[in-house]
Every structure is written in structure tokens, then in C-alpha cells.
């Protein structure tokens, strides 16, 4: 059995060490390159601000155009404490500012995350605008309105025997560099933690991330609060750095600059925003100072930005990483080819069924009564009574449009039924969400693949396994993946079961169709369900792949209940014990495969009254 390998961990602490070295070397090297210390300090503050934003945008996929609100809030709270309130201790004030920004971020997130995608972007813009106006007007007594808050002191680190006083320029640099480094180390831990993997799952496919049992709303809110905390700290440092908290921290331009710097430097890289800030400030200096372009330097920047979005999606750092990856990847791909995508399902012990399955419940594992779904005037399902015994393998067939997929969606609580009740393992699950139901041990593999496309095969399975092992929501954002008990075994088991053990490090996008289909089943399996629904697992497969998949279905049936929809009746009737036939949203007939083959009503439904043995 191969060891579970986490790509970012191949050389321990490589990113941390390189960053530390670069930060220590900077004050010795950069002056010779003509960099002013204040510029370097500004880059660090923007870079820190950007780390949090990158977790939100680059990792979780939530593009906010309203980070200025949190940057300004953190900065204003810290600056207010240090100036008007006469609070003496700079570092404590920065911490309070950070906490305040995180708290505000939590409230803002509650509103903004009610919707996703473009709505989220629009709402964050609107919220930031509110903060801007509130800061300037109703709260101007506290924030100084358009004058800002001047006279923010610089930190003194009193160690008892000696005290470090940080002032401006290179003297302040070590303090800012330390804050940045701390921020980066924490962020690296976050993105390598189970939470970090789930963040990326949400970016790639939020619907599936929820369907495998993660409370994605909770995780999105968490990403938002993390980004808010970083923004708050960076805002506080801005005040300290300039000895003045400027009100224009709240402007839309601030949010826009952050977005652009992150994209220029490279999203999803953590250091990208720092690089982006360096590019931005360098270009500003160079175009304005050296080329004497004046205010139109921003036009050049805008054009560069548009070109970058068009042609270099991953930004500078991402581009460099891609080039390095291509060299390393060329070698690794060689091994991957050797592992051969021949779909052979080996005999391996089955992933143990869900923990809830063992709790002495007898009676049908699933019972639906009077299940009805109407879309306006269209009736998809009407009064379906359906019951499956524990350990059974049930097939569902029916002509296209019979309402099979809608029926599945209701059973997994993806859509709420118009009427009727669903009882799973003796518990009424009607009205629960898909996440809760998956946590209870009922999940589905999709008719159309729902995978995490830019992640590797192993990461895909990992995401699903994490939901079972950690529950739907946990705050272990600083824990290591390797510390989740049983994770490695479960991932490895699942990979071997679906015949993808040799393909663990391959990105999903590079898989063959049959492999993707098996991974789709693997995602459902990795959450160790006691009841697994499979929506057309054989569709679109070659005869050889079908044979292997039938074997796979047989092997996973041990110790769990399966309900399978498929049109391939020969294969299906071979596996299942009973068959339910749906027609026009109702149960037409139910019985053993042999009975169904002979049933006149079924033959009529499929063949329009022509007699004879039913064949696929």
C-alpha cells in the first residue's frame, strides 16, 4: 500500500523557509536595487492583506469586491484606540482591530453569503460602499471623517531587559516582515488543513461539496472571517506604517487594487498578492517617475491586467509554478502512464458501511410514502410508495421522463417533495438538507459526473472521506491532514476499490471517461454510506468498462444497501434482487427481475404493446 502523499508537503516547510530567507535578505539586497524602505513596507502590508483575500478568492472561489470595508474597520479600530482613546499598547490595539474586523466580517458574511456567484460580488460591493459612507458621515466623530486619524504611534516591543522600538522605514521593516511571515505561516497551515481542502472543494464544485456532507455555508463564512481578520490586521498596520489612518482605506479603489494585485501575482498561491503588490508599486514608480506618464500609468496597468486575465489566468506566481510543474510533471506523467488506465477492479476489502448502519435497527432501511413532486403544473412524481430492506440491491427502471432522477433527488433531499414523507433507518428525513442526509449515511452518485475537476483523484476522494470522518463542520483549520484518524486508510481503500489506486496524483481533468465514472462512484463510496443510490452508473461505458463496473457494484454491495437506476437492463437485472418500474411519475409495478421481464404492463410501457420477452 502506498503512502498518502500531500503535494504541498513533499519538502517540509519549503515555502516557510524560502519566505523567511527572502524577508531576512530583503533589507540587505533591496536598497541596492533602488527600493525605498517605505515602498517595501507598503508591499508587505498589501501582501498580508492579500493572503487573507487569497484564501477567500483563490482557494474558496469567492470573489469579493468589498474587502476595503474590513481593511478600514480593522485600521480604524486600532487607530482610534491608539489616538483618541489614548490606549498605549500598539500590538494589543492591532490585535483588537483584527478581532473587530473578524467580528464585522462574520456579520457581513452572514448577509453576503446568502447568495453565491455574481450576487456575492454585487453584495460585497454594495456593503463596502455602505461602510465608506458610514465612515465619512455618521461615524466621522470617531473616524475623523475625511481627515482620518493622524498620530498613530509605532510599536515598542518591551522584553523587560531590552526594548525594541520600531519607527519608520527600515526600522519598522522587521515588525511588518514578522507580521507578514506569521500571517503566511498561519495561512499555509490553513490551506494544508482539512478545512483548506474543503475550501478548494467549494471552489471547484460547491454542490458536490455539500452533497458529500460538508456544511459549505459554514466553511464559506469561515473563509470570509479569515479574510476579514487578515484585512483587519493589515488595516491596523497601514495606520502604524503611515502614522496616520487614511479614510480612503474604505474606498472601492482599495478593494479593486487588492483584487488586481492578487490576480496579477497569482491567485491560490498565498504569496501571489505580495508579488502583485510589488509589481503594482514598481509599475507605479517606473511609469510615473521614469517614463513620466503621470496619471495615465493606471491605464497601462488596466491594459496589462486585462491581458493577464485573458492569457495568463494563474498570474505571475501561478505561471512560474506551471512552468516548473511541467518539467516535474513530465517525469511524473511517465509513471502515471505506466499505471495504465485499464479498468481492472481488484478484490479488496470493502470500505466499512456507515457507523449509523450498525445501530440495531430492523425494518426497511428506507421507506417513502406518498412521495409527490410537482413543478408548477408538471407532475414529476405522484404518490410514490417505496420501501427497501436493509442489504437489498434494488433496481429502478422506467422510460425516459418517468421521473427516476427526480425521485432520487427527493430521496437524497436535494429537492424537497411537494408532498409525502421519507423515512431513513427509522428516522424522518423529509425536509432535511442533502448535507445532513449524507452525514446520516445516505448518498448518491450522479448521472452527470460531479467531480472536483482541478484537483487530483486522491484529493477528490479525500474530500468525501473527510466529511464522514470529521462531520459536516469543524473548526480544525490549523490541524494537519495527516492527523485525521483513519483518513489515509479510507482514501486508499476507496481508490483501490474503484480501481484508481495508481492514478491518485492525476488531475481529474486528465482522466478517461470511464475512470471519471468510477471516481464518481468512489466519491459516493468514500463517505461510507449505508444506503447508496446510483444514478445510471453504466451510462456511456464501453462493454468492457460495463463488465468491470458491474463487478464493482457487486463488491460494494456487501454490508450496504444499493438502489440503482439504469437503462442497461441486462446488466441491471443480473445484479439486483428486486426491480421497481416507474412510469409517468408513478410506480407501475414492482417485483423480482424475472417477474418484471414477463410483466405485460412493463412490456407495454417500453414496447408499446408489442408482445415478447423484454430485452434491452
Amino acid at each position: 500500500m502506498t503512502r498518502v502523499e500531500y503535494p504541498a508537503r513533499r519538502i517540509p516547510c519549503l515555502a516557510e523557509t524560502l519566505t523567511a530567507a527572502a524577508l531576512i535578505a530583503a533589507p540587505f539586497v533591496l536598497p541596492y536595487l533602488g527600493a525605498a524602505p517605505n515602498t517595501v513596507n507598503r508591499i508587505l502590508v498589501w501582501g498580508l492583506f492579500g493572503i487573507g483575500f487569497d484564501i477567500l478568492f483563490g482557494y474558496t472561489g469567492l470573489l469579493s469586491f468589498g474587502q476595503s470595508a474590513l481593511y478600514g474597520t480593522g485600521g480604524m479600530v486600532a487607530a482610534y484606540l491608539l489616538t483618541r482613546a489614548g490606549f498605549p499598547h500598539v500590538i494589543t490595539a492591532l490585535v483588537i482591530g483584527t478581532v473587530a474586523a473578524a467580528a464585522v466580517g462574520y456579520l457581513v458574511g452572514l448577509v453576503a453569503l446568502r447568495r453565491t456567484g455574481i450576487y456575492f460580488a454585487m453584495i460585497t460591493v454594495a456593503i463596502a460602499e455602505v461602510f465608506y459612507f458610514v465612515e465619512f458621515n455618521p461615524l466621522s466623530e470617531w473616524t475623523g471623517g475625511e481627515n482620518g486619524l493622524p498620530g498613530v504611534p509605532t510599536p515598542i516591543l518591551d522584553l523587560g531587559f531590552t526594548a525594541f522600538k520600531f519607527t519608520t522605514g527600515w526600522s519598522l521593516y522587521p515588525f511588518l516582515a514578522f507580521c507578514f511571515f506569521l500571517g503566511l505561516v498561519v495561512a499555509l497551515r490553513i490551506v494544508r488543513s482539512p478545512v483548506g481542502v474543503i475550501f478548494r472543494a467549494i471552489r471547484e464544485n460547491p454542490l458536490r461539496a455539500a452533497a458529500v456532507g460538508h456544511n459549505i455555508h459554514g466553511y464559506k463564512l469561515m473563509a470570509f472571517v479569515i479574510a476579514a481578520a487578515y484585512a483587519g490586521l493589515a488595516g491596523g498596520l497601514l495606520g502604524v506604517m503611515q502614522a496616520f489612518m487614511p479614510p480612503d482605506a474604505f474606498t472601492f479603489d482599495t478593494s479593486g487594487q487588492l483584487v488586481m494585485q492578487t490576480v496579477i501575482g497569482g491567485r491560490g498561491t498565498l504569496v501571489g498578492p505580495l508579488v502583485g503588490a510589488a509589481v503594482w508599486l514598481f509599475l507605479e514608480d517606473f511609469l510615473q517617475g521614469t517614463l513620466k506618464l503621470g496619471a495615465s500609468w493606471k491605464l497601462v496597468l488596466g491594459v496589462v491586467f486585462v491581458l493577464l486575465v485573458c492569457f495568463l489566468r494563474q498570474g505571475i506566481v501561478g505561471g512560474i509554478r506551471d512552468v516548473i510543474g511541467r518539467f516535474v510533471g513530465a517525469r511524473r506523467a511517465h509513471f502515471a502512464e505506466a499505471a495504465a488506465p485499464v479498468p481492472h477492479v481488484p478484490h479488496v476489502p470493502v470500505v466499512p458501511a456507515h457507523r449509523h448502519a450498525t445501530r440495531g435497527f430492523d425494518g426497511p432501511i428506507l421507506r417513502a410514502t406518498g412521495l409527490t413532486k410537482r413543478y408548477g403544473g408538471v407532475v414529476a412524481n405522484e404518490g410514490i410508495d417505496f420501501s427497501v430492506a436493509a442489504g437489498e440491491i434494488r433496481g429502478i427502471i422506467g422510460p425516459n421522463g418517468a421521473g427516476k432522477s427526480t425521485f432520487f433527488k427527493m430521496l437524497t433531499c436535494e429537492v424537497a417533495p411537494t408532498a409525502g414523507r421519507i423515512v431513513f433507518e427509522g428516522r424522518d428525513i423529509t425536509g432535511l438538507g442533502v448535507t445532513e442526509v449524507c452525514q446520516l449515511g445516505l448518498t448518491k452518485s450522479y448521472q452527470v459526473n460531479q467531480l472536483f475537476n482541478r484537483l487530483t483523484v486522491r484529493e477528490n476522494v479525500l474530500i468525501s472521506a473527510l466529511a464522514t470522518l470529521r462531520g459536516k463542520f469543524r473548526l480544525d483549520m490549523l490541524a494537519s491532514l495527516a492527523r485525521v484518524p483513519g483518513l489515509e486508510q479510507q482514501v486508499q481503500h476507496t481508490l483501490e476499490l474503484v480501481g484508481l489506486a495508481g492514478r491518485g496524483e492525476v488531475p481529474v481533468a486528465d482522466l478517461a471517461y470511464g475512470e471519471k465514472r468510477r471516481l464518481e462512484i468512489g466519491l459516493a463510496l468514500a463517505s461510507a454510506p449505508s444506503l447508496l443510490l446510483l444514478d445510471e452508473p453504466l451510462a456511456g461505458m464501453s462493454p468492457a468498462e460495463r463488465g468491470e463496473t458491474v463487478k464493482l457494484l457487486r463488491s460494494i454491495a456487501h454490508g450496504r444497501t444499493l438502489i440503482i437506476i439504469d437503462h442497461d437492463m441486462d446488466a441491471l437485472f443480473e445484479i439486483v434482487q428486486r426491480v421497481t418500474v416507474l412510469q409517468e411519475g408513478r410506480v407501475l409495478v414492482e417485483g423480482a427481475p424475472a417477474e418484471i421481464r414477463r410483466n405485460a404492463k412493463v412490456q407495454e410501457a417500453y414496447l408499446g404493446g408489442v408482445g415478447g420477452e423484454l430485452a434491452a
Binding site: R115, G117, F133, P138, V259, V306
Partner: protein, 291 residues
């Protein structure tokens, strides 16, 4: 001191602003509804329409020519932007669409700053419309009354295009299901190009007719864009009636709150948006499950 006539004239201001927001938002919303792209450069296009009209006014001295130029040039800009830039982003994630249109807005704003500078410019209303009219209960600037009529007419024209023409039928069908329209043998890309042009034209037209009321600066589109977002969130994305209702609501909220304390205008606007998000997350005039 809030007097009756003060209140009525603020109500009128709200109506004027609301109609304007409705026009701009309907441009944004039909683009999103049909193409699936949220155009972050929409505010910049509003501003660009104003400047294009300003340039025409400087050259000809005719307000009508200014309005015609503002609208026509934005139609061309919209078509060009769709053809050259936006078209390549239909199959990329929403974030990339947002980023590229955001970048475009920076380019437009900075280009205008390059050619016209940062100081504000005004396009005066035609002499015949520049006085003050008595409405019986209050005195009100004539041009603003006319403006309401112009904007209402533009909305009416947009309504006719959307609901009474073949193109409109295709656009509305595209909002429901663009893939289906495509498979019916209609060249959706050409429709997309036209829709983007019309959407941009709505913004540009609004930009120039509003220029006599609010003077032009390169940043004038920024706050309009934010207000437009609120309108669209309130009314529901992709809904033309929603944009009109949302526009009127937002216009009145801004206007009436400003009468009491302008600092709270955005707070109230935001409160209204939050309320809508809580009660009807898909917007007032959109049925859930249609996105």
C-alpha cells in the same frame, strides 16, 4: 425642516433617479440574463456615454446630437467589446468574467481621464428646457421633468424591443434557457452581440441624458454601478420588470433618506437590499429556481 413641498420635490427627485437607475439596471440585467455575464464595466459605460455626448456637444452645440452620439457610440462600443473581449469568456468561470469586465472598466475610466482630465465637465440642458416649472404644489426644474419623460420613453422603447419583437422574444427565451435557443438553430452569438450592444446603449443613453443634472467626472459611473447592483439584487437578476421596480424603490430610498440625512442614504439602501435577501433571496420579481 421638512416641508410638504420639500417632500414632494424629493419624491420627484426619487422618481427621476429611480427611472434613471431602472434604465441602467435593465441594461445590466438583460446582459446578465442573456449572456450570463455580469458586466462590471457597466458604470464605466454610463460615464463613457456622458463623455461621448459631451464631445459631440462641444463639436456641434446641439443637445440632440449629444444624446444621439452618446447612445450610438455606446451601442458600437458594446458590440465591439462583446466581439473582442467578452465572447472569449462565456465558457470561463464567473470570476474571470467579473475580472475582465472590471479590468475593462479601469481601462475606460483611465482612458477618459487621459483624454479629458479629472476635472468635471457639464453639458447644459437645451435652453428651452433649462427653466423652472411650477407643478402647482412645488417649483421644479423643467429639465428634470423632461428627463423623466425621456427615460420613461427609453424604457418603453426597451420594453417594445424586448416584448414585441422577434429579437426580444429570442432574448427572453435566451434568459430562460440559452442552450435551448442555440439548439433551435438561432445564432445565439449574434444575439449576444446585439444584446450587449443594447445593454451598453441603455447605460450610455442614461449617461448623456443625466449629464445636465450631475456633472461628468471619470468616476461618475462608480457609484451608479453600486446603486445598479442594489437595484438588480432587489428586483431580481435577469428580470426587466424587476429592474424597473428595483430602480424606483432604490431611487425613492436614496432621495427620501437624503432629505433627512444624506449620510444614511446608502445605509437605508443597503437595509432594503438585506431585507429583500432575507425574505426573497432571488429578488422581488424572480421566481426561485430559474437561474
Amino acid at each position: 425642516m421638512i416641508t410638504w413641498s420639500n417632500f414632494v420635490s424629493q419624491l420627484f427627485n426619487g422618481l427621476a433617479l429611480g427611472a434613471l437607475l431602472a434604465l441602467i439596471s435593465s441594461g445590466l440585467t438583460i446582459i446578465y440574463g442573456t449572456l450570463g455575464v455580469l458586466n462590471l464595466a457597466h458604470g464605466a459605460m454610463f460615464m463613457l456615454g456622458g463623455y461621448a455626448g459631451y464631445a459631440a456637444f462641444q463639436a456641434t452645440g446641439s443637445f440632440v446630437a449629444a444624446v444621439a452620439t452618446g447612445a450610438a457610440s455606446l451601442l458600437l462600443v458594446g458590440v465591439g467589446v462583446e466581439r473582442v473581449l467578452v465572447r472569449h469568456f462565456y465558457h470561463r468561470p464567473h470570476e474571470d468574467q467579473l475580472l475582465v469586465t472590471f479590468g475593462l472598466s479601469i481601462c475606460i475610466v483611465e482612458a477618459i481621464r487621459f483624454f479629458f482630465g479629472s476635472e468635471s465637465r457639464t453639458v447644459p440642458a437645451p435652453a428651452a428646457l433649462s427653466g423652472i416649472t411650477s407643478l402647482g404644489f412645488a417649483m421644479y426644474p423643467t429639465y428634470r421633468i423632461v428627463l423623466m419623460g425621456i427615460v420613461a420613453a427609453a424604457l418603453g422603447a426597451l420594453f417594445i424591443v424586448l416584448y414585441r419583437t422577434r429579437l426580444g422574444m429570442i432574448v427572453r427565451a435566451g434568459i430562460e434557457d440559452a442552450v435551448m435557443v442555440d439548439s433551435l438553430g438561432i445564432n445565439v452569438y449574434r444575439v449576444f452581440m446585439v444584446v450587449f450592444g443594447i445593454g451598453a446603449m441603455a447605460a450610455g443613453f442614461a449617461g448623456i441624458v443625466n449629464a445636465p443634472v450631475v456633472s461628468l467626472t471619470p468616476e461618475v459611473g462608480e457609484s451608479i454601478l453600486v446603486q445598479t447592483f442594489v437595484v438588480v439584487v432587489i428586483g431580481g437578476v435577469g428580470s426587466f420588470p424587476g429592474a424597473i421596480l428595483g430602480g424606483l424603490i432604490a431611487g425613492e430610498i436614496i432621495s427620501l433618506t437624503s432629505m433627512v440625512n444624506p449620510g444614511y442614504a446608502y445605509v437605508m439602501l443597503f437595509a432594503a437590499m438585506t431585507l429583500v435577501l432575507m425574505v426573497r433571496p432571488h429578488g422581488l420579481l424572480v421566481q426561485p429556481g430559474r437561474e
